[in-house]
Each structure stands twice: as C-alpha cells, then as structure tokens.
C-alpha cells in the first residue's frame, strides 16, 4: 500500500509540477505516517504493556523463588528465559574448596581445619505432581537435606572465608602496627639516648617523625581492620547460630569446624590485639619519657634562652659561638640547675615511695583490671574450647554409634542374605528338577512325534516314488508305443505320399501322350512299403507297360475311341471268314448307309442283339461319355472280327489304364486305410 501510494504520488508529481521527487516522497511519507500513526500507537502501547509485564514477572521471580517455580511450571520456555535473565535457580551449588592459604603467616594459630569439600548437587528438575513412592520421597528428603547442607556449608564457607580474610587482614594490620610502634619506640629511644652529632640528630628526629606518622597510620589501619574483623566474626557467629538452628545433622561437623575456626581466629585476634596493646603501652611509657625529656629540654632551653637570649635553641650544636660570659652564665645556670635537680631528687626520693606505692596501686589496679579482662577472655576461650571439645566428642560418639549400628545392621543384612541365599539355592534345585523333568518329557514327546513324522514322510516319499516310477514306466511304454505308432504312421504317411505321387503322376498326362513312366513313383511306393506284403503285392501288380511307358488318360482314350469308332464301323462286317475285299466294300457301304444313335445307354444285361457292333459302339461311346471306361472296355471287348482287331490296341491301352488305375486306387485306399488306422488310438 505504501509503495502504491508512493508510486502514485511520484507519478502525479512528475506529471503535474516537476517537483523534486525527494520532497514528494517526504510528503508521501508524511501522508502515510499520519495515516498509520494510530496503528503505530496501538502497536507501541501493546509492546510496552507486554514488555512491562515480562520485566515485572522476571523481577518478581528474582525476589520470590516460589513464584519463579510456579511460573516455570506453568509457562513453557519460561525456565529458559528466567535462567537467561536471573541465572540458574539458587539450589544449584558450585564446587568450592576453601583453603586458608596464609597459614605461614599464622604459625602460632591453631590448625585450621578444612571444611569438607561439597560436591556439586544438581537441583531436582520440576517433577510432575503425582504420588511419589517412599523411596523417592526419602531420596528427595535426603536430597533436600543435602541441598540445605550445601547451602549452609557454602554460606558457612563464605562467611568463614570472609571472616578469615578480615581476621588475617586485621592480624596483619596489627602486626604492622606492632612493628611500626616498635620501630617508633626504638627510634625514639635511639633519638633520646644516643649521642650523635647534631645533623644526624635532625635526621633522626625526622625519621622519628616519619616513624610516628607510620605508627599512627598503621595503628589507624589496624583499628579499622580490627573493626572489620570483628564485624566478620560477628556475622560468622550469627551464621553459625543460624545454621545450628537448622537442625540438619550432617551440617554439625561443618558447624563445629566453623566454630573452631571462629574461636581460633578470635583467639589470634585477641592475642595480637594484646600484643599491640602491650607495645602501645610500652611506647606510651617511652613516649612519656620522651615527652618528659623534651619538656626538660624545653625547660632547659627556656632557661638557657632566658639567660642567654641570643643563643639558638639547638644548644648541642653550638660550640664556638658562645663567649666566656655566656659560658660562665651557662655554667652557673647549670650549677643552679644541678642544685635544683638534686633538691628535686631528694624530694623525689622522699616522695618515691609514695609515688611508687601510688603507682604500684595504680598498676595493681590496672593489672587487676587487665588480669580480670585476661581471665575473662581466657575463661571465655576455655569455655569455648570445652564446649567445642564437648561438641566434637559428641559428634565423635555419634559417629561411633552410627558406625556400630551400621555394622550391626550389616551383620543382620549379611545373615539375611545368607538365609535368602540358602533358600534360593534350595528353590533353585527344586525348580531345576521340575524343569528338567518337564524338559525330558517334552523332549521325548518331540522325539516320538519327529520320528513319526519322518517315517510318514519316508513312506509318502516311497509311495510317491513308486507311483512316479510306475507312471514313468507307463509313460515310457506309451512313448515307445507312440514311437512305434509314429513309425507306422510315418510309414503309412510315406506310403500315402508315394501313392499320392503315383496318383499325381497318373494325372500328368497331356492330350494324346501318355503319362510319365510310373516306374519312379512305383519304386517309391515299393520302397515305402517294404514290410507290407499287401502293398508290396499291389505295387508289384502294376503292369509293366505302365511302368515303362506310362498310361493314357481317359480323355485321350475317349478321343481315340471317337476316331476308332468310325473305323470300326467301316470294318464291322469283316471277320475271319468274311474278309475279302468285297466284304470290305460291303462293310464300307453298310457303314455309310447305317445310322445309329451316337450314344445309347447300355442295358444292364446284354442280350444277343446287343452284340451288334454298331450298338456296341454306341453303348461304348455312351459309357465313355459318362466316364465309365471299364464298361466301355467291356463292351468294346465284345467286338469280333476286324473291328476287334482294329480296336485291339485301344483295348489294351484301356486295359492298362484300368489296371493301373485300379492298382493305384487300391493302393491309395489301402494307404488311406492304413493312415487312418494308425492315427486312431491303438
């Protein structure tokens, strides 16, 4: 939408006024920004609300762990978010080993026991709320105890560490203060008592001032450190009390150890403080003394200056500046001073005892006070010691008791396990016997069934084999018979083929020329029927002439007969007795004058008058026309005389043809019959 608006605006701008596209865009942006400001406001408000809610939840979760747990349980991925924001939940402990590593500084301290190393404990993940079994509850309780112990231990360790550090710091500071005080005192002593040239004296005084400054600073530091240490020790004490109040048994040794550490630290601190105090008192004396000396010096200087005002303060440095008068005045003053001092000394000696008594009293008081304080502290310390000892002994006793109970329990458990083992052994044996029996029976069953099955299988197999063998034999026989039959069939087929060939060769006749010699075909036929007597006889029955020369077809014979007929008609009257030329003439005349039917159906029985040649010829012609060569031949055979002689060849040919045809048809019929016979089922 924005883009469309921009485009539209651009287009209009370009079209209208040629303004720079930048301003146009700005306008557009204004326009569109104005339009969508409402939506942006809503979106911004929503985002702010959501962010505020999330932030508030995180902060509250940081403060209230129960809330955090509830949120983590109910809101998915909140645990990740809270972990990211606040760190893991406070139950997770970290492996820490506290070593007080400045043992060499506190050689006189007790042996600081190392608190036991706490192992890392993973806080229990949010388990689903369900009925937990006893072991789980116990485990959880134990885990909780462990966690508490860890917290206590860690807190104790923390406090111990901090207090140890503070104590060490305090002790160190006190030691440095002590050293500074000692240095200062020493330098002060030196400064006062040593007889050194004046320049070095000023240096010494400067050193002294520096030492004093050091001492004051060191004392201040020691004071602050002491305060810190006391604070830390107090907090440790409170922590120990708090942990004692938790009543977790496993914490007790830790608490004990912490208490002991605390006690030791307190003792050390006290010792050092007493040392510092003694050093301070010493230094006080020395400073008092130095003050007195300074005062005396000042007094003396005042006196000297009152006497000799022009002499400078540092009178020790003056050697050649004094005149004799000054020296005399000085000596006189010195004498006077000596007298005064002697008098004061005598006074002092007198007052000495009183002073000493007073100071002794004071000292006694102070000593008593100190003693009391020391006694108090010592008593406290001893009380602490005894209490700690008592606690330790108690814990030891508890440990011993626990160990003994554990051994007893172990013994009982061992006895129980032995008993259970025995019982189990007996049971095992019984079960084994049962199982073996069952196994044996099952095995027997299986064996018998297996044997049965295998026997059955064998029988079946033998049966199958036998049947297969029988069938095979049958098949072989069938095949053999088939082979034989096939052979027969083949032979028959061959015979038939050869006969067909013969038949065909009969047909290979052209008009007026005989067929091919049938020798080849007849030979083929003879070959194809070696073992067949009938066929062989038939094959050999073929007339020789047909074999060599072939036979004429019926058509040619017919045609020939037609030409013969006229001739036979012409010589019809000529026979053995009547065969003169005159007869010939007569017969020719007769033939010219006699008209008979061209064809006449022959009767079934020939009577005498049917033997007339003309009639015979017409009958024969009829027969030939109707394809009956045999009858025609028979009829022609009835011709006598010259007609007979004339048709003799024709007759022979007809006889040949008929013979051959008969033989061939017989052979063909036989071949067909044989073929049919062999192709049928035997």
């Amino acid at each position: 939408m924005l883009r469309a608006c921009l485009r539209g605006a651009n287009a209009t701008a370009r079209k209208n006024c040629r303004r720079s596209p930048l301003t146009n865009l700005q306008q557009c942006r204004h326009y569109t920004a104005g339009e969508s400001s409402g939506a942006a406001k809503v979106v911004a408000a929503g985002l702010v609300t959501v962010g505020g809610g999330v932030g508030g939840a995180i902060l509250y979760a940081k403060w209230d762990h129960k809330f955090r747990a509830a949120v983590e349980n109910n809101v998915p991925y909140s645990d990740w978010l809270l972990g990211l924001a606040l760190g893991p939940a406070s139950q997770g402990g970290v492996k820490k080993q506290v070593r007080i590593d400045s043992q060499d500084e506190c050689k006189e301290c007790h042996d600081h026991q190392e608190p036991p190393v706490t192992a890392m404990v993973h806080p229990d993940a949010e388990a689903p709320l369900r009925e937990r079994p006893v072991e789980e509850v116990a485990a959880r309780l134990a885990q909780q105890d462990l966690e508490e112990q860890d917290t206590v231990a860690s807190s104790l360790e923390d406090f111990l560490a901090s207090s140890a550090k503070a104590t060490l710091q305090a002790i160190g500071a006190q030691e440095t203060a002590l050293q500074a005080i000692a240095r200062h005192t020493h330098s002060l002593k030196e400064a006062m008592e040593a007889e050194v040239p004046p320049e070095e004296k000023s240096a010494q005084w400067k050193d002294l001032e520096a030492a004093l400054a050091d001492r004051t600073s060191a004392v201040n530091d020691a004071g602050t450190a002491l305060l810190n240490a006391n604070e830390a020790l107090d907090s440790l004490k409170s922590e120990i009390d708090k942990s004692k109040g938790l009543k977790v048994s496993a914490v007790r040794p830790l608490v004990l150890a912490a208490e002991e550490n605390l006690h030791n630290m307190v003792v050390d601190l006290d010792k050092v403080v007493t040392k510092v105090q003694s050093a301070e008192s010493e230094s006080k004396i020395v400073s008092q003394y130095s003050e007195l000396v300074n005062e005396a010096k000042l007094q003396f200087q005042r006196e000297v200056s009152s006497l000799t005002p022009e002499i400078q303060a540092n009178w020790k440095g003056l050697t050649g500046k004094l005149s004799a008068d000054d020296l005399n005045a000085l000596i006189a003053h010195a004498h006077r001073r000596i007298d005064q001092l002697n008098r004061e000394l005598a006074e002092q000696r007198v007052r000495e005892q009183i002073h000493i008594d007073a100071s002794l009293e004071q000292q006694k008081l102070e000593d008593q006070k100190a003693l009391e304080k020391a006694v108090l502290t010592a008593v406290q310390h001893i009380k602490e010691d005894t209490r700690l000892e008592h606690e330790r002994k108690l814990s030891e006793l508890r440990d011993v008791m626990e160990a003994e109970m554990r051994t007893q329990l172990r013994r009982q458990a061992a006895a129980h396990t032995d008993h259970v083992q025995d019982v189990l052994k007996v049971q095992e044996q019984e079960l084994r016997a049962d199982a073996e029996q069952v196994l044996g029976s099952k095995m027997l069953e299986q064996e018998t069934s297996y044997r049965q099955l295998s026997q059955e299988q064998l029988d079946n197999f033998t049966l199958d084999m036998n049947t297969a063998y029988a069938r095979l034999k049958g098949m072989e026989e069938a095949i053999d018979s088939h082979v034989v039959a096939e052979e027969e069939a083949r032979k028959a087929h061959q015979l038939w083929l050869s006969v067909e060939a013969l038949n065909y060769s009969l047909k290979t006749v052209e008009a007026d020329s005989p067929t091919v010699p049938l020798e080849g075909a007849a030979q083929a036929v003879r070959d194809s029927c070696h073992d067949n007597d009938f066929a062989l006889a038939l094959a050999t029955a073929l007339p020789e002439e047909s074999l060599q020369r072939g036979v004429y077809s019926e058509a040619s014979l017919r045609a020939r007969f037609n030409s013969l007929r006229s001739l036979a008609r012409r010589v019809a009257l000529v026979d053995e007795t009547h065969n003169s030329l005159y007869q010939y003439f007569l017969s020719y005349l007769q033939a010219a004058l006699l008209f008979e039917a061209k064809q006449e159906a022959p009767p079934s029985q020939l009577s005498g008058e049917d033997l007339d040649p003309f009639k015979l010829l017409s009958y024969a012609s009829f027969c030939l026309e109707h394809g009956d060569l045999e009858l025609a031949a028979k009829l022609v055979n009835q011709l006598r005389g010259e007609a007979r002689r004339v048709v003799e060849d024709w007759l022979t040919e007809a006889r040949l043809t008929l013979e051959t045809r008969q033989v061939v048809s017989l052979l063909s019929a036989y071949a067909n019959a044989v073929g049919l016979g062999t192709t049928q089922a035997p």
């Binding site: 065969n579 003169s580 002689r645 048709v647 003799e648």
Partner: protein
C-alpha cells in the same frame, strides 16, 4: 497302333494297285505297241491284270492277320 494298321494296309494296297495298274498299263501299252499292233486290249488286259494282282495282294494283305503264319506257329 492297331487302328492305323488298316490304314497302312490300304495305303499299301493302293500303292501296290497303282503300281501294278500302272505297270500293267505300261506293259500293255508296250505290248500293244510292240506286239499287238496298238490294240487296246493288251493295255486293258495288262492294266486289268495289274489291277487284279493288286486286288489279290490287297486282299491277301488284309486277310493276313487272320491266317496263322509259319513263324507264329513256330512261336
């Protein structure tokens, strides 16, 4: 072939007749001319004689198939 035999016979007959008649004729003519003072009777006589001989031959030829010949007998 047997049917052609007759034809052949007739051919021979005719040929023989023609020869004999012609020979007769010729002889007749010769004789008539020579011996018989150009009478026609020797011509006709000789030609008839020739014809008669031819007839006789023809007939015997035609009959020969019905007669048993010596070599046939021997066979």
């Amino acid at each position: 072939m047997s049917e052609k035999e007759l034809g052949k016979k007739w051919d021979r007959c005719l040929a023989d007749g023609a020869i004999k008649v012609g020979t007769g004729l010729g002889l007749g003519i010769v004789l008539s001319v020579l011996f018989f003072k150009r009478h026609t009777w020797p011509i006709s006589f000789c030609s008839a004689a020739g014809l008669g001989m031819a007839y006789g031959n023809c007939q015997s030829d035609l009959r020969s198939s019905y007669l048993l010949h010596r070599n046939e007998k021997e066979q």
